[in-house]
Symmetry: C2
Subunit: 260 residues, 2 copies
């Protein structure tokens, strides 16, 4: 059912508080979000036009536009030029997940330890050479690390680094990719870009042993390739994490709103 009345009900006494520290555009976005959450607007409904909102809330067009863009970015509404702005329902395709859960694991707890299990130079096999854009047999640095949280092994990390004496010192690169600041963004980085992929996998015997899990156990595998400033691959590796330590969560549709 779509509303056709030109003046939607129950846009009652909601106003922008100009003395608030919360910016006007954010207040307006929250008001609209609240109206969607409380059923004033239903999925599929057309929102009041921008000029109507300008008049109703006494703000400038740019401010309205910014609130609209904010909600559209969050996937709560959708806009169509010449037609109007509409409330979106639930669309799974719009869901996005972040690595916040990972970030928290590492930043909040100071009990994070990195144990270096192995570090040595070896010749790249075919697969490694392909990933790092080398020729097979070139020398690479092979690292194995165990990331512990509260002395519990959580992540098992294997990584190959290109080994080039002409490059800036290798230790520093090891430092860089040692994940200390990678998650939280602390510390500066020589790396410009990274590609990530997340897969589901089963721990093999070695992984299960290191992570203290009983085989077979489900796990996430997070593969990464990092590139330097010239877009040359510099690091290829993957984290393995027992499924009990990691879960990605998110919401779709109109966000819940605390009753005011």
């Amino acid at each position: 059912m779509t509303r056709k009345s030109k003046t939607p009900p129950a846009l009652r006494n909601d106003r922008i508080d100009r003395s608030s520290y919360e910016p006007a555009y954010a207040q307006l976005a929250n008001l609209l979000r609240h109206h969607m959450a409380t059923g004033v607007f239903h999925p599929g409904d057309q929102l009041p036009s921008e000029s109507q909102l300008v008049g109703r809330y006494g703000v400038s067009p740019m401010t309205v536009r910014r609130a609209i863009n904010l909600l559209a970015d969050q996937g709560v509404i959708s806009t169509a030029q010449g037609r109007g702005t509409f409330v979106r329902g639930v669309e799974l395709g719009a869901a996005t997940f972040g690595f916040k859960e990972l970030q928290n694991l590492f930043s909040n707890k100071e009990q994070t330890q990195v144990k270096l299990l192995e570090a040595r130079v070896r010749a790249a096999d075919d697969r490694t050479a392909r990933k790092l854009n080398l020729v097979s047999g070139q020398r690479v640095i092979y690292l194995r690390r165990l990331l512990c949280i509260d002395n519990q092994p959580a992540f098992y990390h294997r990584e190959y680094l290109v080994y080039d004496p002409a490059r800036p010192v290798v230790e520093s690169e090891m430092e860089v990719t040692s994940l200390q600041g990678l998650f939280s963004g602390v510390g500066e980085t020589v790396l410009k870009r990274g590609d990530l992929s997340v897969e589901a996998t089963i721990l093999n015997a070695e992984e299960a042993r290191l992570l203290g899990a009983t085989s077979p156990a489900a796990a996430f595998c997070i593969e990464h390739v990092f590139y330097d400033l010239k877009d040359a691959p510099i690091s290829w590796g993957w984290f393995v994490c027992h499924s009990s330590h990691l879960r990605f969560t998110t919401s779709v549709g109109v966000p819940r709103v605390q009753p005011t």
Copy 2:
């Protein structure tokens, strides 16, 4: 190494094309992104101030601001009030991934089939009752579905729906949650909100049989709870998908840019 020269090098003859269909703010964002990608600005560097950009590119402050916000939203740069705008390096915590891959699976191929394996009313067990905010023993609808792509089983879906004769027709809710439009956003929805979580798991015997996999096999489990317009849970269920069918990918840091 941080630059301190007040006039960064090599902002040469890049200009905004006012006759282009591409909006000025997008052009500016792309120019800046290109300069970051080609090493004019390095991770950690401070970008020219907004007023400098206004002068350099001959656009209004709002337009510069919009380009800056765009890049900041993408995680490429970060802004600090009173200090400046800076190029971000690689930060894993900033990574996000979506269901685009899923969306494509369902929208691109028209060979998608949904086979209903079972649909019956039963009493809710403790866990189901908790998830759907019912009391144990209340009646729910239990559904089992197999989603096939190109006649290959890809997803196994189990779902519990609240069964309330006073509600709008149940068939329509089954229709709604039948995933036809859930991913691509086609069709309208009675659902207002949904919570999702992604876990790694191992297929049990039944799941492996239905999905044509050999046990043990790694898989993603996507759990969902959907809420109606009054924020009451209406559906709880989960998709199981063999890991070979699904992989989430994303990038962090300064996006690659095609040489111009």
